[in-house]
């Protein structure tokens, strides 16, 4: 019963909160550029605007193009509901590491298909780049969380959170290594610097944006929303798996509220970190990306070998 309530709560919580963190990152970046920037609620207004717009659809678009936004959005909210966000007292079968990672991969797969579907030249190169990056990211992503799974002797994320929060500070060296590896995968998966530039208008340099160039109106809104969800999912995984303190351990209103507050604070700090990083470096050359992604993999392996 409690599982269902929490699951439903998170089902709503992630999509409701996710545009806020996109707005916060943009706001912080604006400050670094001597700009005032739009308010942190701007992404909500943009979604509202897009949901009220008409759509233009290519004549060559097939059912994949039409279905992809729904699939991608659905995947992100299901995953968002299944990961540990405010509490560690429920464990759904969906909270398994491999289930989460490959559910997200399913979304990426359909996004890449949709990019190619209309035959747009940019969509094709976007999809090709996305699959290259996604394939190279997967190792670092899985192995960094796997390091924690070895600690917890379970691949269930909730169990991992419980175990890691009971660890003494001295055992944190491998966890920090795994966190760095995860952070690299986070940046790659959520199409951020140094992998992709979410603010660019240059079609030729795009990865994520190139795939969704053909979308407009409501479907674009769904995809933008799904990207925001995905960003929040990765932020949550980052803060809750690697720094799990403060998660609600019991199902009482007080504990839940405290858990939520701590969660928001942690996610805010991590997203601010992402914004600072994006403001201080240039995007990497496409063929240098595998170097960083490989670093992510190696760091995970080191973390695992320290744990075993």
């Amino acid at each position: 019963m409690i599982s269902i309530i929490i699951w439903t709560l998170q089902l709503i919580l992630v999509p409701v909160l996710s545009p806020l963190f996109v707005g916060i990152v943009r706001k912080i970046k604006a400050h670094f550029q001597n700009r005032q920037g739009a308010g942190i609620f701007q992404p909500y207004r943009e979604l509202w605007k897009l949901f009220h717009k008409d759509e233009v659809e290519s004549e060559d678009a097939s059912w994949i193009f039409r279905a992809a936004p729904y699939i991608i959005f659905a995947v992100t909210i299901v995953v968002g509901a299944s990961i540990p966000i405010i509490g560690t007292f429920f464990a759904s079968r969906l909270s398994d590491l491999l289930t989460i990672v490959y559910c997200l991969a399913l979304g990426t797969f359909f996004l890449a298909l949709a990019g190619m579907d209309t035959g747009n030249a940019f969509g094709g190169s976007g999809s090709s780049r996305e699959m290259t990056v996604a394939a190279l990211t997967e190792a670092g992503l899985i192995f960094s969380i796997l390091a924690l799974a070895f600690l917890a002797h379970s691949t269930n994320l909730v169990t991992i959170v419980q175990t890691v929060s009971d660890l003494s500070l001295f055992s944190f060296t491998p966890i920090i290594l795994a966190f760095v590896a995860f952070l690299i995968a986070l940046l790659a998966e959520s199409a951020r610097f140094p992998f992709d530039n979410p603010a660019t208008h240059l079609e030729l340099t795009m990865i994520h944006e190139a795939m969704i160039l053909e979308y407009s109106g409501k479907k674009l809104a769904l995809i933008e929303w799904a990207s925001a969800n995905k960003f929040l999912i990765f932020l949550s995984l980052g803060v809750n798996l690697f720094f799990p303190w403060g998660s609600a351990a019991s199902f009482t209103p007080g504990a839940l509220l405290l858990g939520l507050a701590v969660f928001l604070l942690k996610v805010f700090l991590l997203s601010a970190g992402v914004a600072v990083l994006e403001s201080s470096i240039a995007k990497y050359r496409f063929f240098r990306l595998q170097d960083i992604l490989f670093t992510s993999f190696i760091l995970s392996i080191i973390a695992i070998s320290l744990i075993i």
Binding site: A121, L204, Y284, R285
Partner: protein, 528 residues
């Protein structure tokens, strides 16, 4: 050297020379022109500044094709020309097989005058598109400027084609996602690598050169300010200098200094913008936003000094319309030193960023020989160590009275073009400081009244000025009733567009926008 001595040095006595102002023009028989131009170009190392044509059928001469060679340091131009008979063939020998940079001029002459360069390897129409009928030549006198021919239907345009396994073609433009001018690019790529890049331009063709022939004199200056909006001042300066040399006007010294000051302000604003955008295109948003901020500071000074952010309405034939008072000068001096310090700090931070430098280094390298063959000018040329700058080679305004350093780099990649701009910014600040300090000692007069109708007959004048992209060349020609019959505009972009494909080749597609930005060429100035 005076004109006679220069003529003796470069030319044999068999030509009938016409010496006037800074120009030596002479007819060369069609069968000798190729050899003669090769001698001037390869043996005497003169710079080919432009090749243009004029319709002189009214004077029963036919057409003339003029080859403008500049003699650096002397500030004198040799203009051999051939006469093309109006006999239904309209042929003249092509220089293109021998001198690569001639190819693009001859293609333009073929499209706009309908004169056929014999032996030219590529005579596809330039700038005018498939909807333009191939038998209408807009710069001929019998084509009225305000007519529009019916669209042609069955013309085709052949892009170069790369075939083979894994070759993927991406058409980009003419309408782009950013707020830039329109142009079509065709990429052939193997994976992410650019195998071939071909640009098709002409989407902003406005008939500027034709309009120059019809507009009254004051409007001509206005029109030149609109050839390429970001270079308003230098374009009108080049035209005014050509007109002043036709009319034999001595511009007051104060006007010369003011022209230098405004030119350098224009250069500063645009270099700030370019440096900012190059950094922004790598995603280095700190540099990007600061570039925009610095540019805006200069633009606001422009507005304060001249009531125009783009320095329009400042140049007139015979001088300038705006003066800088002593108190304003002192304020400007203070402001400039603040901006200079600001700029130095930003560049110091940017050059500490290894992720930025990694994107700039080795990207978009242009081969030196290709650059020389295609006659590349301005920033991309200096980024290859090719020492040319119209401010030094053809001193105008007050550039001969204040020391003007040459800003060079060697490697010819994006980083080199970046650093040439940085050096030129520093040089501009130094030039501005000296020119502003010299201003107080000058006579208050900053323009001369002139009779703009007293033009000489059958004369040619060249106006050249170094815009922030490269040298801008105006060729003004009068007919035998002393009317202006032709104004040829050669924007630096007209030459530099030809090598963009070479700079992009073998790079990866995601780097192309950065390479393009490091050239930042004008579409409007090219398309005219």
């Amino acid at each position: 050297m005076n004109l006679e001595n220069i003529a003796k040095k470069y030319l044999t006595s068999k030509f009938h020379l016409n010496l006037k102002g800074k120009v030596i023009s002479y007819a060369v028989p069609a069968e000798e022109i190729v050899e003669h131009c090769q001698k001037l170009y390869f043996q005497d190392h003169l710079a080919l500044k432009t090749i243009t044509a004029v319709d002189a059928r009214k004077e029963s001469i036919g057409f003339k094709v003029l080859y403008v060679f500049g003699i650096p340091k002397e500030n004198v131009f040799l203009i051999p020309f051939v006469i093309v008979k109006d006999n239904g063939q309209e042929e003249f020998p092509s220089l293109a097989p021998y001198i690569q940079e001639a190819a693009i001029y001859e293609r333009k002459i073929k499209t706009f005058f309908g004169l056929n360069p014999l032996g030219h390897p590529d005579i596809r129409p330039l700038l005018l598109h498939e909807n333009w009928p191939t038998d209408k030549f807009p710069l001929r006198k019998d084509f009225a400027w305000d007519t529009r021919p019916e669209d042609a239907i069955d013309n085709t345009y052949e892009f170069q084609k790369v075939e083979g396994e894994g070759i993927y073609e991406i058409p980009v433009g003419p309408v782009h996602a950013g707020i830039i001018e329109p142009g079509h690019f065709r990429f052939s790529m193997a994976g992410e690598e650019i195998v071939l890049l071909e640009a098709k331009l002409g989407f902003v063709h406005k008939g500027t050169e034709k309009l120059f022939e019809v507009l009254p004199m004051a409007e001509k200056v206005k029109l030149s300010e609109r050839v390429s909006g970001d270079t308003s001042f230098t374009h009108s300066l080049a035209l005014c200098q050509a007109m002043e040399s036709l009319l034999e006007i001595q511009v007051p010294k104060r006007a010369k200094y003011l022209r230098l000051i405004f030119s350098e302000l224009e250069r500063l604003a645009n270099h700030f913008n370019d440096l900012g955008f190059m950094m922004l295109d790598t995603g280095y948003s700190f540099g990007g936003s600061n570039g925009a901020r610095l540019r805006e500071m200069i633009m606001q000074w422009n507005e304060r000094l001249t009531d125009s952010r783009f320095l329009r309405g400042v140049n007139i034939i015979g001088g300038v319309t705006k003066d800088i008072s002593l108190s304003t000068r002192d304020e400007l001096n203070t402001a400039l030193s603040t901006i200079h310090q600001d700029f130095s700090e930003i560049i110091a931070i940017a050059e500490e960023s290894s992720s930025l430098l990694n994107r700039l280094d080795t990207t978009g390298r242009l081969d030196r020989q290709i650059a020389i063959d295609y006659g590349v000018v301005g920033v991309p040329a200096r980024a290859l160590g090719i020492a040319q700058d119209a401010r030094l080679d053809y001193p105008y305004a007050a550039y001969d009275t204040v020391p003007c350093p040459l800003s060079l780099a060697i490697k010819g990649d994006v980083r080199a073009r970046f650093s040439v701009r940085v050096k030129e910014v520093h040089a501009s600040f130094a030039l501005l400081e000296q020119a502003l300090n010299n201003l107080s000692a000058l006579d208050a007069n900053f323009s001369v009244q002139t009779d703009l109708t007293a033009l000489p007959r059958n004369a040619i004048a060249i106006g050249i000025a170094e815009g922030w992209r490269g040298d801008i060349v105006y060729t003004v020609i009068t007919d035998n009733s002393a009317n202006i019959t032709r104004v040829d505009v050669r924007d630096p972009s007209f030459l530099n567009w030809n090598v963009l494909g070479y700079a992009g080749k073998d790079n990866i597609v995601p780097d192309f926008p950065l390479i393009n930005k490091s050239f930042n060429l004008s579409y409007s100035g090219n398309d005219l």
